[in-house]
């Protein structure tokens, strides 16, 4: 087996185009992903134009809004990029420097002050890419909802302050003049005191009793109103809990996807191509007539594919680590995840190689099989009908891409256990290895 392995590695070494492709491809994928991750953070870039004249502010109670707060809100959901004018923002969107532009028109403060008309923020977006457009919609909707909530809270707080003033009394400033407001509670006390001084059964005392009843009702209901206003300022609150999986940073997930895709293609193509080459060069019949058993030949091809792909993938991980924060003390887990994935992909590759007679057919078969498998595994939950979703889950589980992605993600980030994906990959290695042995047994 060592002789055959050495032979395969020598042939690979003497195939410069294939070798270059196998080395450059994963490194290129790593570099592309790394660059895109370093340039494009988790948040989309959105241009921000504030056309409200300098100094114009909008006040609610003692709180003042100058509309730079919209930019601050936006920062929580996107990466705002300052633009000096609407024209510049349009150019940035058109050139792809930003995904969209958010414009606060100059009449925004007047409309807010008028209370008759709601101000309208404007969004410029390049709709050529629906995925990016969706990202922008989400970011801007979230930012505007935040801003609305903040204004609403300020309004509520001011209303509650006025209600409390009516209830408890206090000092209030109107147009620079200070006034003392007595408040319903103290009014009630004063009326009660006056009432006691009136003769029982008198007309005036009965009239004051009615005033006192009204005062008590008003005091109680104003108290309820304050609590109700507090509640409706944020009627529904959200508390997020992860019931499955942990929140993996986008950069880590993207790195794991890149690693899994490269590992998949390189390993499957090496294993399938290695076995198909034996048939293409007619050496297969020479080998299996007593020189090497079919099982050992498959094991050699799997070992060849793993020996070729694992170092390349680890090299790729090192390249990605230049862009993604990495924990080096978890390197042994990376290696374990990559090795387990490679073993399963190699077993699948030998099956593909047993089904194809030539290297070209094996490569084509590998690509046509693997691309949809990777695509299905990356389809997010909830975008398909339940039946279709279940079908994609079954297909994904039947191939090594999904468990490899889980294992590499767990190895890189480490919140989830690697045990499940590793056991899954072991099962697939045995399964595909068995199928490959059956297929190669039928070859003449």
């Amino acid at each position: 087996m060592r002789s055959l392995l050495a032979k395969d590695l020598r042939i690979l070494w003497r195939s410069p185009f294939l070798l270059a492709l196998l080395v450059i491809y994963p490194l290129l994928v790593a570099a592309l992903i790394g660059l895109s991750l370093s340039r494009s953070p988790d948040k989309p870039r959105i241009a921000f134009v504030n056309e409200v004249p300098a100094g114009q502010e909008f006040s609610i109670g003692d709180q003042t809004f100058d509309f730079s707060f919209t930019e601050r809100r936006l920062r929580e959901h996107a990466e705002p990029v300052r633009a000096d004018s609407r024209r510049e923002a349009e150019r940035m969107v058109r050139d792809g420097d930003v995904l969209a532009a958010l414009i606060v028109p100059s009449d925004t403060v007047q409309k807010l002050d008028s209370t008759l008309d709601s101000p309208q923020l404007e969004v410029l977006v390049n709709e050529r890419d629906p995925v990016k457009a969706r990202l922008v919609d989400d970011a801007i909707e979230a930012a505007v909802a935040d801003a609305n909530r903040r204004v609403s809270r300020a309004l509520t707080r001011t209303s509650i302050e006025y209600l409390n003033l009516l209830l408890d009394g206090g000092r209030v400033n109107v147009l620079g003049n200070e006034f003392t407001v007595l408040g319903l509670k103290r009014i009630g006390d004063a009326i009660e005191s006056a009432r006691r001084r009136l003769p029982r059964g008198s007309e005036e005392r009965r009239a004051l009793d009615q005033v006192l009843t009204f005062n008590r009702l008003a005091t109680e209901n104003f108290g309820l109103s304050a609590r109700a206003l507090s509640a409706i300022s944020e009627p529904i609150r959200v508390e997020k809990q992860a019931v499955e999986g942990s929140r993996v940073p986008l950069t880590t997930f993207a790195a794991a996807v890149a690693v899994a895709i490269s590992l998949m293609f390189v390993t499957v193509i090496l294993a399938a191509g290695g076995l198909a080459l034996e048939r293409e060069q007619n050496a297969f019949t020479r080998l299996v007539r007593g020189l090497v058993s079919r099982g050992r030949l498959l094991a050699e091809k799997a070992a060849f594919a793993v020996a070729g792909s694992v170092p390349l993938t680890l090299l790729m991980l090192l390249a990605v680590s230049a862009f993604v924060p990495t924990e080096w003390d978890r390197f042994h887990l990376w290696a374990l995840a990559v090795l387990a994935g490679a073993a399963a992909f190699a077993a699948l590759g030998t099956l593909v190689g047993a089904l194809a007679r030539e290297v070209q057919t094996a490569s084509l078969l590998a690509f046509t099989l693997l691309l949809p498998v990777a695509f299905l595994a990356l389809v997010p939950d909830g975008v398909l009908s339940p039946a279709l979703h279940d079908l994609t889950r079954v297909i994904s589980a039947a191939f090594p891409f999904d468990p490899t992605l889980d294992a590499v993600t767990a190895a890189l980030y480490g919140d989830d256990s690697m045990l499940g994906p590793l056991l899954h990959l072991t099962g697939l290695t045995v399964g595909f290895g068995g199928l490959a042995r059956l297929a190669v047994g039928r070859l003449g």
């Binding site: 002789s3 032979k7 042939i11 299996v288 007539r289």
Partner: protein, 243 residues
């Protein structure tokens, strides 16, 4: 033919015997009840029109594929095998190919065996050249050399001279003659009937998977009457048998 101590002629022992071989690929029958017994030191040519079943028979005798019915018994261990299509690695050099297969064959003295075969095939000067850069004839010589690596007493060759020019063919048959002289048994399939006439002790004629003739080349010529050579006798023979 061998002579025993009493001066009586005795037949050499049978080293390869196939009885009642049958093989079908789907509905097509490639071999129908074919039997053959090859004696030690014989050179047997398997001839027949295209699709006669020559390669199927040889691959069954070589143990590459199984017959559907019938038996094959080899008393020569694992036969050396030279397939019709080149079965070697084009990215490896001549010496690397020989060394790899010699190691897989479990050859004891690897270097000496490779040297001997390079010498025998006249490829010593091209030993370090990759097979992909050799001419078709030289590739076929490497292909034959790999079949000889195991030093088996029985050699099965499927059209070994098909890619060779006249001079190379002559050299190949000289080499095969030397092997037979050293006690090896050779069974080969060929389309070149002059080779069968010149180099075979016995011919097996197959047509549509059926054994039509088994005997010496001269016997075939005698069977169809006077002909200028084996090729014209063979064509007449096939015509007589309705092929």
């Amino acid at each position: 033919m061998t002579v025993n101590l009493d001066g009586m002629q005795t037949q050499p022992p049978v080293v390869l015997e196939a009885v009642g071989l049958h093989k079908a690929y789907g509905a097509r029958e490639a071999l129908r009840d074919v039997s053959v017994a090859v004696r030690a030191g014989e050179r047997v040519a398997c001839i027949g029109p295209n699709g006669a079943g020559k390669t199927t028979l040889l691959t069954i005798l070589a143990g590459i594929q199984r017959q559907d019915a019938g038996t094959v018994e080899s008393r020569a261990g694992r036969a050396g095998w030279v397939p019709q299509a080149l079965a070697l690695y084009s990215k490896l050099s001549v010496a690397e190919n020989l060394r790899l297969f010699a190691r897989l064959e479990g050859v004891a003295d690897l270097d000496a065996t490779v040297e001997r075969l390079l010498e025998q095939t006249g490829l010593r000067d091209r030993a370090d050249e990759r097979v992909e850069r050799l001419s078709g004839g030289n590739r076929q010589r490497v292909n034959v050399a790999i079949g000889l690596l195991g030093d088996s007493p029985l050699l099965l060759m499927d059209e070994p001279s098909s890619a060779l020019d006249a001079r190379q063919r002559e050299r190949l048959w000289q080499h095969i003659g030397a092997l037979v002289g050293a006690g090896k048994t050779v069974v080969f399939a060929t389309h070149i009937l002059s080779e069968a006439e010149r180099y075979a002790d016995r011919v097996l004629v197959l047509a549509d998977g059926e054994r039509l003739f088994w005997g010496a080349p001269g016997d075939l010529e005698r069977e169809v009457g006077a002909h200028r050579d084996l090729e014209s006798a063979f064509v007449s023979f096939l015509r007589q048998r309705g092929h």
